[in-house]
């Protein structure tokens, strides 16, 4: 588990790799399209994509002879999972607060 976390940390530590990742913001792209405008060679881009893929940040699929890369929603899963957990525990606490008050209220009304 820790190994995976370290992998994502190091995957995003490299500014060029972050730039490669950001090229996928607007949708899936081929290696050639990603490399366009970046000051690195296509093989270098492929290498960065491989690291990002190993870290779970991007996914790929074949389209004819091209390989298309996209941001892996599971890579965004870190944020999503955090929010999921946050709301889960927040709503549990909310329900306790509601019910604590609801129990107190009828007593007050009887007084």
């Amino acid at each position: 588990m820790v190994a995976n976390a370290h992998r994502i940390i190091s995957a995003f530590a490299d500014p060029t790799r972050r730039a490669v990742f950001e090229r996928l913001r607007d949708g899936p792209r081929s290696v050639g399209e990603i490399a366009k405008g970046l000051p690195v060679t296509r093989p270098a881009v492929s290498q960065h994509l491989k690291v990002l893929k190993d870290a779970g940040a991007v996914g790929d699929r074949s389209e004819g002879t091209r390989r298309i890369y996209y941001i892996d929603p599971k890579g965004l899963g870190a944020m999503r999972a955090w929010l999921d957990q946050f709301w889960e525990s927040a709503l549990d606490a909310f329900a306790l607060a509601v019910e604590a008050e609801a129990e107190r209220r009828p007593k007050k009304e009887k007084e």
Binding site: F21, G27, L76, A78, R80
Partner: protein, 156 residues
Amino acid sequence: MSTQIRPAPVRKSIFVNAPQDHAFEVFTSGIGRWWPKTHKLGPADLDRPIIEPREGGRWYELDVDGSECEIGKVAVWEPPLRLVLIWQLTPEFTYDPDLITEVEVLFTPEGDGTRVDLEHRDLERMGEKADAMRETVSGPGGWPALLELFAQEATN
């Protein structure tokens, strides 16, 4: 084809043994009674978050030293049915005025109580800040739980 990758919204439902108007009230004016004290923005201890009871109202954190930190805004204020909050916190739990994600909360009477359905959506906008993930997991006061959760996601 360029389909945008969109993470699914976070959806949570909970049933509470209380009338709809009471559930709405505790969620909003009573938010200080259930919001986790550990989830705060300012350096001082959290007094309570405050949701101003109107459309366009502020949603902010009030700290014990009197300082305030923005969390977001109130987009829809329809007591006791519906509430839409704008959540403007990054995954690092800092306020970003350019980040707009929505939290919709519906309060539906069910039997003797109320079903509360919460949806936190537009999460891809947080995803656009994905390089913040590095700071999130490695920064001081980062989220140890996040590390674990991420690892689970990554190994799934």
